[in-house]
Amino acid sequence: MTSLIHAVELTKYFQVGKKRYLHAVDHVNLDIPEGKTLGVVGESGCGKSTLGRVVLGLLPATSGELYYQGEDLIHGNKKQRKKMQREMQIVFQDPYSSLNPRMSVYELIAEPLVMNHVYGSRRETLQRVQELMEIVGLAERFINSYPHEMDGGRRQRVGIARALALRPRFVVCDEPVSALDVSIQAQILNLLMDMQEELGLTYMFITHDLSVVKHISNEIMVMYLGQCVERAPAEELFQNPLHPYTKALLSAIPVPKLGASLKHNLLRGEVSDPINPEPGCRFAKRCDHCTEACAGKNFQLKELGDRHFVACALYQ
């Protein structure tokens, strides 16, 4: 299997003060095969959105290597990078703030086409916009509408159409359904899956919601404070979660079933900021299995069984 996106020790630090660095993404390895979906799961502040932006080149990486189809995205020449970045697009979380309220649907979807001089004539651009609207299931009568005249689901369809305009091969979906109602959420998830099949897209699906990611991902990566703590094929991760954090995340999801209780495996404490973190497991403070072995050194992902990686003192 060839991987479309390949990252080695990708790192992004933000300077937040004198000699104070926020370790937003800390030595993360990625490998996304063409046509597949990698789900990236974690709580707010775990660096999942930053990771997506670094992969897309919207934020420069602090260190590490990143390849798209084997081409170096970090050291390669600028022109080449620009060309490749056209094939990598993003769908944003909030369909309310990610669309310019002063632009009509036509202008919004046409923007990437116009900006990249894809078509010479207005007629061709219009044709492509209509085609895109059909692909994402947006009725043509909305072509002159403004974002505020549409509901969240339709707006997100506009956002998806924009992302698809330049015929990308790789799309980062940054919490694309978090702001939507359940019934609409399912519509958008199905649309994303259909498009993957039809257009052979590769996704990096970022979300805080494990139940959403289960349906769409082939492989799932759980992040905590900038680090990848567990990575496994989707089914495997749900059947056999290993890292204590993954387990806690799974049991914290309120299940719509009688007699469901959240008290089991309740996590204490809250996520802190990974500013100049000490070496050692970053989850240790909230972990019930924490021992002295958890401090002092960073844990590398270790393969336990079939493509199931975990970084935890319990499994070293």
Partner: protein, 291 residues
């Protein structure tokens, strides 16, 4: 498939749409009509009343209250106030609109650049603007005019420079919340160049407070220009100008109030018309208020 052919993107574009929304706002239309009348007066000043009427002094008839002969009365030199207001409109509007328009263009651009790029560029621009702001307006204008020589153009230039920091600040603070919006990042991610993002995404979404501030500033500018004239620079008497008229008349304010009322009303109406238009324009530019 016939339906598909009927789908049209609006050809008349943004301007037509904005005009359509503006038209429905009665108050804004009132402002527009008022401003159109003022502009008409500027253009047709010589037709309405000859320029000599505004200049001819007649000490015998000084400080006459309004009458059928002198509609707005006469000033302390016996000049017809009505004629002076009509002919003063040109200079006043030039000073007011000119200073604001140029100030806001340069200040706005600097503010947009500072707000959009942030970090070092922002710091440098803001520091320079803060330094200019520390100098009192009048002192600043006076020194510039003193250095360049007293003339209408130089006063305009001086007021413009003195006002740039203010607009830079306003535009910068209007732009900062917009720059943080996701759609700016969305535009970047599909390869839109920065200058285009500023023009197409940032400014249209930040323009509301800028328009309101600009239209309110015109009146102030006219008064400021008058202050400069009073100090012997800029527009020199006997050239008719509203602010200068106010200034000259202030000694007779209590005994002959009409000498200040009419130029005051003229400035007020100009500011009001622009203000109403500005509010209307701000609303018309916002597609959310379409219906």
């Amino acid at each position: 498939m016939a339906a598909e052919k009927q789908v049209k993107i609006r050809k008349k574009g943004r301007a037509g749409e904005i005009w359509h929304r503006f038209k429905r706002n009665r108050v804004a239309m009132l402002g527009l009509v008022l401003f159109a009348v003022i502009l008409l007066v500027v253009i047709l000043a010589d037709v309405i009343v000859p320029y000599e009427d505004a200049m001819t002094q007649n000490i015998v008839n000084r400080l006459q209250p309004p009458s059928s002969e002198h509609w707005f009365g006469t000033d302390n030199f016996g000049r017809d106030i009505f004629a002076r207001i009509i002919h003063g409109s040109r200079n006043s509007l030039l000073v007011g609109l000119g200073a604001v328009a140029i100030g806001i263009t340069i200040g706005g651009l600097l503010g947009a650049i500072a707000g959009f790029y942030g970090s070092h560029i922002d710091a440098v621009i803001v520091r320079i603007m803060d330094t200019i702001m520390c100098i009192p307006l009048m002192l600043m204008v006076l020194s510039i005019v003193a250095a360049l020589g007293a003339s209408l153009v130089n006063v305009l230039l001086a007021m413009m420079i003195a006002n740039i920091p203010q607009y830079t600040r306003i535009v910068r603070s209007a732009i900062l919340p917009v720059v943080g919006q996701d759609y700016i990042e969305a535009a970047k991610s599909c390869g839109t160049p920065n200058r285009w993002i500023i023009v197409k995404h940032v400014i249209p979404n930040a323009i509301g407070p800028i328009i309101v501030q600009a239209t309110m500033a015109v009146g102030t500018m006219i008064i400021n220009a008058a202050g400069i004239s009073f100090l012997g620079m800029g527009i020199q008497p006997p050239t008719p100008e509203w602010g200068a008229m106010l200034n000259e008349a202030k000694n007779f304010m209590l005994s002959d109030p009409y000498t200040v009322v009419f130029p005051g009303v003229a400035i007020g109406l100009t500011a009001l018309s622009l203000n109403l238009m500005g509010d209307g324009l701000r609303d018309a530019l916002d597609p959310k208020l379409k219906d």
